[in-house]
Amino acid sequence: MSTLSREETEALIAEVLEVYPEKARKDRAKHLAVNDQSIEQSKKCITANRKTLPGVMTVRGCAYAGSKGVVWGPIKDMIHVSHGPIGCGQYSRAGRRNYYVGTTGVDTFGTMNFTSDFQEKDIVFGGDKKLAKLLAEIETLFPLSKGSSVQSECPIGLIGDDIESVAKKASAATGKPIVPVRCEGFRGVSQSLGHHIANDTIRDWVMGKRDGQPFAATPYDVAIIGDYNIGGDAWASRILLEEMGLRVVAQWSGDGTLAEMMNTPKVKLNLLHCYRSMNYISRHMEEKYGIPWMEYNFFGPTKIIESLRRIAGFFDDSIKEKCEAVIARYQPMMDAIIGKYRPRLQGKKVMLYVGGLRPRHIIGAYEDLGMEVVGAGYEFGHNDDYDRSIKEMGNATLIYDDANGFELEQFVKRIKPDMVGSGIKEKYIFQKMGIPFRQMHSWDYSGPYHGYDGFAIFARDMDIALSSPVWSKFVPPWKKSVPEATQEPQEAA
């Protein structure tokens, strides 16, 4: 299938929009567009970060998911209480695959679910007492936890509990930070506001707690911001920075600790991977502590090399030399991988629909393998994300914002990509349509995909998905062409 031309893509959008009632059509039309690299500002062609149209199946999450699931959750030595009914925490438990080292239940708590398990009486009479009791219990049962956060679910905001005062009292009693987070699911239009709320609470409750305390700083201190260590991503990134001679003081927040976060204001440079979820705190540190930040991209050798050189540019010549040495050392490994997989993957077309950063970050990695991204969209991106994406994507590429199940299905049916990369909710639809699929949120039980080591795994995974023999079995034997059917009857299997 050849790539659609601009007119064809526009026609496709028009066709998909046709099924909507008029008002809905007008609204959705603003979120679907054909990429035009000559545009500087994405808002000329696409609207983002708006309330989802009621009645369509959105793929978005809620603010609680953005705060508990994304930003706070991976901080491993704190206990994150899902305050409210049990489902929100239980159904999302350990789903993001943020790897960490530690003994779960003793000094780390990443994959556990802590909840206040609201019942009817808590809704009627308020849950503050329960929360106070629970925080005291945590202290008894898990004395090695370094602090807690209270992640509000929807009912907390609705009944107006005063979690701040409970947290304050409990914090005074235990001497550990207890952070109330007002991330009720109904706030904002997607998980994006949850990221923002979580960043603000980190700013208010964690940052600055160690200001003025002694710290053995080096001129090469950096922090990795916005890497959630999915399948080990942050580790694969960290070793590259360390090989270059930098010292990674903190990982935000995959495999991160409270102490690391408190020490972050001492670093010389913040390295921001997921811009969408942690630009807020980077801006804050830039203003308050004068720490510059830069966005980097560790997907695929081309972008890695570009990013490593830009990072080295912030430091002296010794780092720049080591940076070149790192690049040179890994080059043969990359050449071997590309030599092996590129012939198998060349020219394959991919459609992506992921969260707030990957649709643009990962394009480079696909291109390194000779693959082409023919459609991309963000669940909860903002216009500045699209601004950054326009240049990365080919002209006439289809862009979709907050796409729903129906739209995605129609697009895939027409564009016929060789592969789709999206989340678990989309996975089985497309696999049943006979299209190879990779989960690009959690790397489908695989990973890491960041860094040089990650690229090796990424390339292998894409090949596995595309070359699986299962795709040739889609036509059942009785529908196969006649010559085969008339062959000697085979023994019953």
């Binding site: 500087e40 500002q41 808002k43 609207t47 970060n49 994006s192 923002h196 807020y280 801006r283 830039e286 203003e287 004068g290 903002h382 216009n383 500045d384």
Partner: protein, 75 residues
């Protein structure tokens, strides 16, 4: 009045950021741009305009300020 942040863009210009609405835009023009008097009307590349009380030029960016919107809300 809204809290805004102004920072230096990598490309050299100024960037306007409105945390409340997560709005990011380049500043196309700033009314006063001298050491003693800095601020005034800010014209954004998205068509919006904001006003900040003129102050002495801040020695370091970014800086958070209070701004007033001029004209209708932009996207």
């Amino acid at each position: 009045m809204a809290n805004i942040m102004i920072r230096q863009a990598d490309s050299g210009g100024l960037v306007f950021y409105l945390p409340k609405r997560d709005l990011e835009a380049s500043i196309e023009s700033i009314e006063f741009d001298s050491t003693a008097k800095w601020g005034g009307e800010l014209k954004l590349d998205n068509g919006g305009a904001y006003y900040i009380d003129p102050i002495a030029k801040p020695p370091r960016l970014p800086i958070s300020l209070r701004a007033r919107r001029l004209g209708a809300a932009e996207d």
